[in-house]
Amino acid sequence: MFIGYFTERPYQDPGSGYFGATGKPIMDLTVSNEIYDPKLGSELYNRYLDEKLYAEEMGFDGLMLNEHHGTPFCMGGAMNVEASILARMTNRAKIVLLGNILPIWDDPLWLVEQLSMIDMISRGRLVSGWVRGTGRESVAHNSPPPYNWERFQEAHEFIVKAWTTPGPFRWEGKHFQYRHVNPWVRPYQEPHPPIWLPGVVSRDSLMWAAEKRIPYIMLATEMEPTKQAFQLYHDTAAELGYESGSQNIGYLWKVHVDETEELAEQTARKYVQGPSNPFLAGNEGTVNPALVNLPGLTSRSRVLPTQSVATRARGGGGGVAGVLGRPYEQQIEDYTIIAGTPKTVLPKIRHVLEYIRPGSIFFWDGDGAMTHDDSMRSLRLMGEEIIPAVKEMAKELELPGPFEVDPATGKDIPQAAD
């Protein structure tokens, strides 16, 4: 079992008068950066890095980062900068990027170079995930949504080739062209850093991951459709002639641990207050219907079970908001938020592990309006009680992670002695 730690790194400014906590309505894309306070931003970047360092100290296997653009719910607009700092300041945990937004890069050679450097500086601890990005990424970097999937696939092929094929070589693709590819960097890991794929919506992406034997990580989706999506991965693998297992699938969801049940509930309610992701569960912001329906971003006909319930006429909006905009109580009920003391949290985590059988999990914590103290209390308890117990559970339930069993071959990976 591989256990990672994640937060969106929200831009928290209780004085801003926005972001739900104050009751003022906001809609996605409508908040101007004129209210951005760089001094506050500076404190927050350092806080989130400190929390990542502490997460490593507490025994997490992976420090996960993500990237969004032009939004207060995630400060990681250039995630590779944060990853570079972690590469030098940590020494054991994997740096898990879920991920770089391939389609928005007009020049993916920058990614070849940056990620190789992060892999070398971290001495081979980079996990290089890719995402297709939400609408706001296409809008922010002006990348054409109907070509999102084509650009994703071509950038992937290009980057892998540049990592593995001696240069110089030429690349004359549909979306990217280079006449001299010969970067003076190479990744530390052979043949290249592991590539993972997180997702929520697209059947195309999941099938692609299964075809490439790349681990697929579902992000904060409800359990039943998540299980169905993973079954689709396993079925596809079987059709392609290999046996996938827990090492091929991962699940990220909200888990907060605290000293008392009361404190846990009081703190976990902050998930859905403040600038947490407005298009995910329970947030007090308002989804921008045009942004979630950018033309052609996801194939109209090929969505995953996690989204199939969202079928409604698209011209007037609808989309994911009505499906995922669920209140705190409901999320507690269906385990998409697990909060409590270690004693009450562990059986619930066990239920999730038994139900969807992932080999990688990520605890999403310290988000919304949670403070540094809230995050640190939870991290400490996770290190002291949750991680050791979950590792035991995973052994008992036979849920190896992608660094124990190779997702591409199903073979055991020799483990270095502890």
Binding site: T298, A310, G315
Partner: protein, 285 residues
């Protein structure tokens, strides 16, 4: 982050469904013809010499009044561009000049030319690109609030940051007083209608995402229209393509005629249907 249409047709969910025959007047013919590498959905109706109508970025589910009235004097040819309606998209068509080149091949195959043409908004941009490549293809050219040129003042409205209904509503100065507004933009569109919009938005996005709905070279290339009788029609209160672009079109096309309609938005052919029909009849006569 998108949802599947609940009524996607089983054969090919990525194109719009069959439009109900009743949307076109009795006697009009709708067919799918093998043309220049795709199946072209083409509606023909009326009588008289051919008049080609190149539709806009949102397409339309059937005949509007200006179609019906012009059909009394002309044989209308209403094709759905590749990627719109039920015409299969062409993978290699990645920008408006690709599409214009394809259309010239299509007109060759349809044996249409020199032909009169009306191009609306995105279809006007298309017509202008085609005419700049091959001015002798056309007899007379009417451009109705065409996209394609960067307005010297203001910006072309970003249709992709709004849902379809919002965009269409913005295209009218006074939607409430326009009889055909409800038909073009129903409050709760039938799934088939919403899918036509969605298919159109997706292809418009391929053609015009960046630069947004214009080609920087076009004003310079329009010089070639100097022998083609051209009329530029614009609504003074156009909320989609600022009227400042009208002057650039007018100045870039030697000898062109400019008609700016007062109290009118982006769709003069719908919002000021009487005036537009009169102008078109007089121009093409």
């Amino acid at each position: 982050m998108t949802a599947a249409s609940p009524t996607a047709p089983s054969t090919n969910p990525d194109t719009a469904p069959d439009t109900a025959p009743s949307l076109w007047p009795a006697g009009w013919v709708e067919e799918t013809l093998p043309v220049a590498g795709t199946g072209l959905q083409l509606v023909k109706g009326g009588s008289g010499e051919p008049l080609l109508i190149l539709h806009d970025e949102i397409a339309h589910p059937g005949a509007l009044r200006f179609h019906r009235e012009l059909a009394e004097h002309y044989t209308l040819y209403i094709p759905f561009h590749p990627g719109f309606g039920r015409t299969e998209r062409l993978d290699w068509v990645m920008n408006m000049r690709d599409l214009a080149g394809w259309y010239l091949m299509a007109l060759d195959e349809l044996d249409l030319g020199p032909v009169n043409v009306i191009g609306c908004s995105l279809g006007g941009w298309l017509a202008a690109e085609m005419a700049s490549m091959s001015p002798r293809q056309f007899k007379k050219l009417a451009l109705v609030a065409p996209m394609g040129i960067k307005p010297p003042e203001g910006y072309i409205y970003d249709m992709f940051l709004q849902v379809a209904r919002e965009f269409i509503t913005t295209a009218f100065l006074d939607p409430e007083s326009t009889p055909e507004f409800g038909e073009l933009c129903p409050e709760a569109p039938e799934p088939e209608h919403a899918l036509i919009w969605e298919v159109a938005r997706e292809e418009a996005c391929r053609l015009g995402w960046k630069p947004y709905m214009y080609y920087p070279g076009l004003p310079h290339l329009l010089e070639r229209l100097n022998k083609l009788p051209t009329m530029v029609v614009w609504g003074r209160e156009d909320g989609i393509v600022p009227v400042s672009a009208a002057q650039v079109y007018h100045e870039s096309i030697p000898g062109s005629r400019l008609e700016i309609l007062d109290n009118c938005g982006h769709l003069p052919q719908v919002e000021k249907a009487d005036e537009f029909i009169a102008l078109a009849r007089q121009f093409f006569a």
